[in-house]
Point group: C2
Chain length 248, copies 2
DNA sequence: GGTACGGTGTGGTCAGACCACATGCTCGAC
DNA sequence: GTCGAGCATGTGGTCTGACCACACCGTACC
């Protein structure tokens, strides 16, 4: 039933592409052409399989890729919310990619930190240069003032604060990258958190630095905002790691 | 390793994780613990399936994810080169992720361009501040001097030039991001290339700007290098698009 | 009118069967 | 002994068919 039907029906070209790549390419084409867009449902896996002349397992591999890349959300059951829906949430995929690359030693932690430093400095510069909505970041600052916050909880809020700065820039790419960079080293940050004795002092310093960054942004002072971000990240990194040769 | 089967055999917890997530988590754990590293082979799919108590299709979904993320390379056949080998080449996954997110309208092209601008400016600053090996970039500049180069060929070299600058910074994360940003808008760049009449002038200008950037880096002048990169990218972007409100 | 219940369609998973391919070994020819 | 052809083996790649769990939706019953 399937013999010659795929692709060039009359020609001998047996389609060198793998079956799942065919599916991925087809969906990407539908996205580019506008046939698919945010909020739309992908066809059911079985329908996609017969439509493209591949097995359902190949369709599933492509769908799985789209899911981990944050392009779609899948749900079982029936009804409007079931099936594979295009959602386009990049941060999840970015985080997974970076986390695994760090785990596989392709991304040294040093590089992740310096990249984060570059991005955040640029973000701070940008935020200080124009009117942006920093209220989510401010709320996180207030949350971090809560007394008795443990290191893990504080650092979680800290991470959200930095990501919220990226989000405030309204640059979705920047925000996704920041989220990915943060998540990829989350384990290392938590593992190197100061112990309970030194923690209160560290937390106090971090709070002050955060406020200082936002203050510089509010003051419309890009250079100071950028410099304070640099010191903030760089300082914390140096504190929690064995200094070896000052990454860039 | 966790007790196989469905986790707690005696308990009612039926493992809420999906089967392929189990596989992915297992491999990630092996990477983090050092049991797996660059160059190593993943166990055969069938062995992995029985070892984790899941079906081979679930293993394949996880392997597929690792492959598109650039973590492994798969090959059929037998022998040392066959199977799934950990390679950790991040750029492929970064490119796919960004390309699809752009296709799904989650990443506006404007954001991609401004992010690229930020990253390249930072890279130029860094390159001008220390000794780095720019010879790959120089060779690309020479290649771009070849007469009679078409727009498509020139732009391909152009893209490689910019990525080579990122690679010269020795920051793997930065290099991967730059490659991804480039690839994600490749289609748009090619589609908006000037026609044959205007092309020679454009190419000449781009050549001169590239040389100017490298010259500033060689001169150890971070500010000039950064400014020239900004003008270079921004200028080209404005030229090829309908200006609307000057992205960032 | 409201509620319980079963039909239906979705993704999630597994098992088994082939295929194509690369390797490496065996065995025969010389 | 050397060399080459050819088969055995093990890998990923794919398809098929079968279930399951789940969420909805319509119908029949109360």
């Amino acid at each position: 039933m399937l013999d010659d039907e795929d692709t060039v029906t009359a020609e001998g070209t047996p389609d060198p592409r793998k079956a799942w790549e065919t599916v991925l390419a087809s969906i990407e084409g539908d996205l580019l052409s506008g046939r698919l867009g945010p909020g739309d449902h992908l066809p059911p896996e079985r329908a996609l399989a017969t439509a493209l002349g591949v097995g359902r397992s190949s369709v599933r591999e492509a769908v799985r890729v789209l899911e981990v890349l944050g392009l779609i959300r899948t749900q079982t059951g029936s009804g409007p919310q079931s099936g594979a829906i295009i959602v386009a949430r990049p941060s999840g995929g970015m985080s997974l990619l970076m986390r695994l690359q760090v785990a596989a030693r392709a991304f040294p932690v040093d590089d992740v930190v310096s990249t984060r430093l570059i991005l955040e400095a640029a973000i701070a510069t940008q935020l200080a240069s124009g009117p942006f909505d920093l209220s989510p970041a401010r709320e996180l600052l207030d949350s971090m003032d809560a007394p008795g916050l443990g290191a893990a909880d504080f650092l979680a809020l800290d991470a959200q604060f930095h990501v919220s700065l990226a989000a405030a820039s309204t640059n979705t790419v920047l925000a996704a990258m920041m989220a990915g960079l943060r998540d990829s080293v989350e384990g290392y940050v938590l593992a190197s958190a100061p112990d309970a004795d030194a923690w209160p002092d560290t937390a106090a310093r971090l709070r002050a630095e955060h406020r200082g960054i936002v203050a510089a942004i509010d003051a419309g002072d890009p250079d100071t905002a950028s410099a304070r971000i640099r010191d903030h990240i760089h300082g914390y990194y140096l504190q929690t790691t064995t200094p070896k040769e000052t990454p860039w």
